[in-house]
Amino acid sequence: MALYIGKRVLYGFIAIWIISILSFIIIQLPPGDYVSSYIANLAAQGSSLDQAEAENLRIFYGLDKPWHIQYLKWASRIVTGDLGYSFEWEKPVMSVIQGRILTTVLLALFALVFTWLFAIPIGIYSAVHKYSIGDYLATFLGFLGLAIPDFLIALIAMWFGYSIFGWSVGGLFSPEFGTAPWSIAKFLDLMKHLWVPVIILGTAGMAAMIRVVRANLLDELSKPYVVTARAKGISEWKLIMKYPVRMALNPVISMSAYLLPYLISGSVIVSVVLSLPTLGPTLLKSLLSQDSYLAGGIIFLIGIFTILGTLISDLLLLWIDPRIKFEAR
């Protein structure tokens, strides 16, 4: 077991190293660099930078060096836990994103719990009552949730929130708590705002999860061990919950490993629309302004999240499904 985990961690490091190179190449792909996007931004506002001033900026930011030198500089810092320096924010990448990591993870966890809380029971119900009105209704609503783009729901929710309930538009905090230090009042304020994005992000993943649970459970329900158990007279509720549901949850767990990276990268649009202080909008903006170390840092973090999530989900699977065993190699 220890050997297995050790191996996985080692592979994880290799993957992270590859991710760091990949993410750096990705940032270099679009034409230009931070300075040229900065100049373009100024030009769009009707102003311009002197050629000499632009040159100074490139030297300041080390953009006059070839990309592999820039990468080495960045990578050597990462080893020490320093994600580099954001051009645009003029401060270390870590201090730009650390406040946002918390809100991102919170949002992800709540959305995950929300999805599970609704999708699993509905999935079970749909499978057990196959082709009933309830099944069709759940399926219909699930697909509706899947089909409507989540940013659209976000926009509509925001407008109703403002025009009917008079909420402040977007964001995760009321203005007075925005930058206040953490307190119970602030946490409650967060809870007040958090449920909207949680529902929006949760519903998007719900339909898929309902279908997965339903399909898996249907497979399991017809298997001999269920028949055997039923023949032995176990109550229907206990029978379903104890055996086939446990089997059916298997993919649910492996799916959830991807939720964290999904919530950062896949929910960018929702986060932008709702103006959530999460990593998503920061990633988007840093890519647009070609703030390479910031974008690289975030992509790198997402990579780590993915690898960590995968590791955790594999370990969870191991624990929940006794059929998975190691082969001693």
């Binding site: 990705i26 100049i39 311009s48 930078l49 002197d50 001033e53 993915t306």
Partner: protein
């Protein structure tokens, strides 16, 4: 169960792919959101005045005792009768009556006793601050708002929104600290930090007089030492500024020389006439410590604070150590970051509000500067408003909705004109009003035929030769209907006109140029094209003189300004239907536009400008082939800056404009009006730019009903750093 199994790798690759698609393809969609933010305020901050090889036409000023451009001496401004020149200029596209906060220049009318805000008075009482008389300079700037709502009440927090650290201009425009500045009309130069300024007769030497007793926001005296510190240890230090910015150099690349005469007087001297210099320092890169981006411009810097980061003061080793500890590569970079108060709140400032939380936070907070050097007509120290609080909006749409909800006190920046119906609908509920500012004549969508195209081996020379034909450009310009662009893109606002359309702009050549080559005339256009020997091909489109198909390609930046791709589609259809010209539209990302222009690869390009809202001699990028950004001649523009690249223009009219501009830039303001007119005439007669709709009231301010002293009928300009030109320190809330 290896991490490297295909399943896992696919995930990682998918992730990478998603990021790539955001980084590359996705930008088109997203830039739209971000870029459109700029529609509302057009701005010029850094302007380049790089003149090469000026043929100095010596200005002979005959027996004038008053030095040219010594604006102060000719000022006779009394409280209620505005100076003649100012009132005259008000006829422009102004909306409503003209009223704004003025500077009281007559020292005999200055107040003699001073008041202060209650919070500062309390601090004086408790001994935390010196009394107001000691905090103000001997001669503070006196602002008179009696044309508006007059002397105000202290208090209130100005709530605004910003979109992130790159939005520095948001605060720079409100909290100005220019050495000299403009009146709200943008017609006259005014004292600002400098109490007085003058130029010698041949515009080679400029003298600035600081306000005696003026202080930084931390209470340290502000003297010429701060100016000389910037000159000697920033501008001249190669570790800080490896390349010397254009504003510090004359036409031949000679650096200006700064000299301190005494604690409050300094001079800037150039080896040849630099007539435009005073205007240059009134709104550009050297426009003050706060307004300088991270490029160490500004013209002055707090010596007592900044010297602790400078190698010349603490030694290179120590300076580098400080930089490394803070995460910078070298001390020069570190120094410039520290010198930017918008992101380094520890730096003292000279602006009306001082930073408490910078622009690299989730919320930016600015508080009243207790040492601000301006008072109202009754001697009350400004600003009236206690604080400015800017909240971060990740997205302009959210920002727009918050504006509609009435969450901000005064917000013009990032409010898109397409929100207008929604804004109007909610005026009452949100407790605000919508005010338009007159946007001078610049056409927000202008097509630039590149007259350098194919001249230097890049692109089709035959098409380039056509683009150099004035008749070809004229035919293009009168070959489409501007009205439909006005309706579809500008919601029926503005009017169609040529690049000479601004009646009040000093360099406007006259009313007869207003519509020149800018109204639809299909018959005439076809006649011109026939005259050039462009025959109809088998596909119904005209061919090149050689008989090959003629396809014009236009670069339209996605998302920038107004909908330039949409406008291009309208023009394309008209050209096809009316004059048989085949236009291909290439939607282009912003950075790529720069590359294409710099490489002289753009055949036609769309950008704003032409009939500039910007002074011709300060920001000529879109008026003549001035630099890479000049769509009518990006190659000869670069040659104009640096004669080692590309080559002189093939087009005679472009060459003529460049020559005239060089002459004009060396002259003092009053002497160069005719030259400016000549440059504009050429632009319109020769159709250097195909303008569409001008005077669109694209700049909207959403103002809470309790806001006072907000001017009306004054222009929105980038050189004036509007709303800075409104003298924001005189704003107050009647709550």
């Amino acid at each position: 169960m290896s991490i490297l199994n295909p399943y896992r790798m696919i995930t990682v690759l998918l992730l990478a792919f998603a990021a790539i698609s955001i980084a590359c393809g996705g930008t088109e969609v997203v830039t739209e959101k971000v870029v459109q933010t700029v529609v509302v305020e057009k701005e010029v901050v850094k302007e380049v005045e790089k003149i090469k090889e000026v043929e100095v036409e010596k200005v002979v000023i005959q027996e004038k005792e008053v030095p040219v451009d010594k604006v102060v001496t000719k000022e006779v401004v009394t409280k209620y009768t505005p100076e003649e020149g100012e009132e005259k200029a008000s006829g422009q596209a102004a909306t409503g009556e003209v009223a704004y906060t003025r500077q009281v220049l007559d020292k005999s009318k200055h107040p003699t006793s001073y008041g202060e805000s209650p919070d500062l008075a309390a601090k004086v009482k408790s001994g935390d601050l010196p009394p107001v008389e000691d905090r103000l300079p001997k001669n503070p700037m006196v602002l008179d708002s009696s044309d508006l709502d007059g002397v105000g009440k202290y208090g209130g927090t100005w709530k605004r929104a910003f979109t992130g650290p790159a939005d520095e201009q948001n605060i720079e425009r409100i909290s100005k600290n220019h050495m000299i500045f403009w009146n709200s009309q943008m017609t006259e130069l005014r004292p600002h930090i400098a109490e007085d300024f003058e130029s010698n007769a041949d515009a080679t030497k400029f003298t600035f007089k600081l306000r005696e007793g003026m202080k930084w926001s931390d209470g340290e005296p502000f003297t010429t030492a701060d100016v000389m510190f910037w000159y000697e240890h920033i501008l001249l230090d190669d570790n800080v500024l490896p390349a010397k910015p254009g504003y510090s150099k004359t036409a031949n690349g000679e650096m200006g020389v700064w000299k301190a005469v005494d604690d409050y007087t300094y001079t800037v001297e150039f080896s040849e006439p630099y007539g435009v210099y005073l205007e240059l320092v009134s709104g550009l890169s050297v426009a003050g410590h706060l307004t300088q981006f991270p490029v160490c411009g500004g013209g002055f810097s707090p010596k007592h604070y900044m010297s602790q980061f400078h190698a010349a003061f603490v030694g290179e080793e120590e300076a580098n150590k400080l930089a490394k500890d803070a995460g910078y590569d070298n001390w020069g970079t570190h120094f410039c970051a520290k010198n930017n108060p918008v992101k380094n709140v520890d730096s003292p400032v000279t602006t009306a509000w001082m930073p408490i939380k910078g622009f690299n936070e989730e919320e930016s907070v600015w508080e009243r500067n207790p040492y601000y050097w301006a008072v109202d007509a009754e001697g009350n120290q400004l600003p009236y408003l206690d604080k400015i609080v800017l909240s971060l909006a990740e997205d302009v749409e959210v920002l727009g909705l918050r504006v509609v909800a009435g969450e901000f006190d005064i917000q013009g920046r990032h409010v898109k004109p397409d929100k207008l119906p929604l804004l109007r609908e909610n005026e009452e509920k949100g407790g605000y009003r919508v005010q338009f500012t007159s946007a001078a004549g610049s056409s927000a969508i202008t097509v630039y035929p590149n007259q350098d195209y194919g001249a230097h081996g890049e692109g089709d020379k035959e098409i380039g030769d056509l683009l150099r034909e004035a008749d070809f450009r004229r035919a293009l310009s009168i070959g489409f209907d501007r009205e439909q662009i006005r309706e579809a893109i500008f919601l029926g606002m503005g009017r169609s006109a040529s690049a000479c359309a601004i009646p009040d702009e000093p360099y406007a050549p006259g009313p007869e140029y207003d519509q020149m080559w800018s109204t639809l005339d299909v018959a005439k256009a076809n006649e011109l094209l026939d005259g050039l020997g462009l025959k109809e091909g088998s596909d119904g489109f005209r061919t090149k003189p050689s008989g090959d198909p003629l396809v014009l390609d236009v670069i339209a930046v996605t998302g920038a300004f107004t909908d330039s791709v949409g406008a291009a589609e309208l023009i394309k259809k008209d050209w096809a239907d009316n004059i048989g010209i085949n236009l291909k539209i290439t939607p282009t990302e912003r950075s790529l536009r720069e590359t294409r222009l710099k490489n002289n690869e753009a055949m036609l390009s769309i950008w704003g400008g032409g009939g500039a809202s910007e002074p011709l001699f300060l920001f000529p990028n879109h008026d003549l082939a001035f630099n890479w950004e000049s769509g009518m001649g990006p190659a000869s523009g670069q040659w104009f800056q640096d004669s080692s690249v590309f080559g002189p223009p093939l087009s005679a009219s472009i060459a003529k404009q460049q020559e005239l501009w060089r002459q004009g830039a060396a002259l003092p303001r009053s002497e160069r009006i005719d030259i400016g007119k000549e440059i504009r005439k050429i632009a319109c007669e020769e159709v250097h730019a195909i303008t569409t709709i001008t005077e669109t009231p694209a700049w909207i301010f959403v103002i809470k009903n309790y806001v006072r002293n907000f001017p009306t009928g004054v222009p929105f300009t980038t050189v004036g750093q509007t709303p800075g030109s409104f003298y924001t320190e005189a704003f107050w809330f009647d709550q």
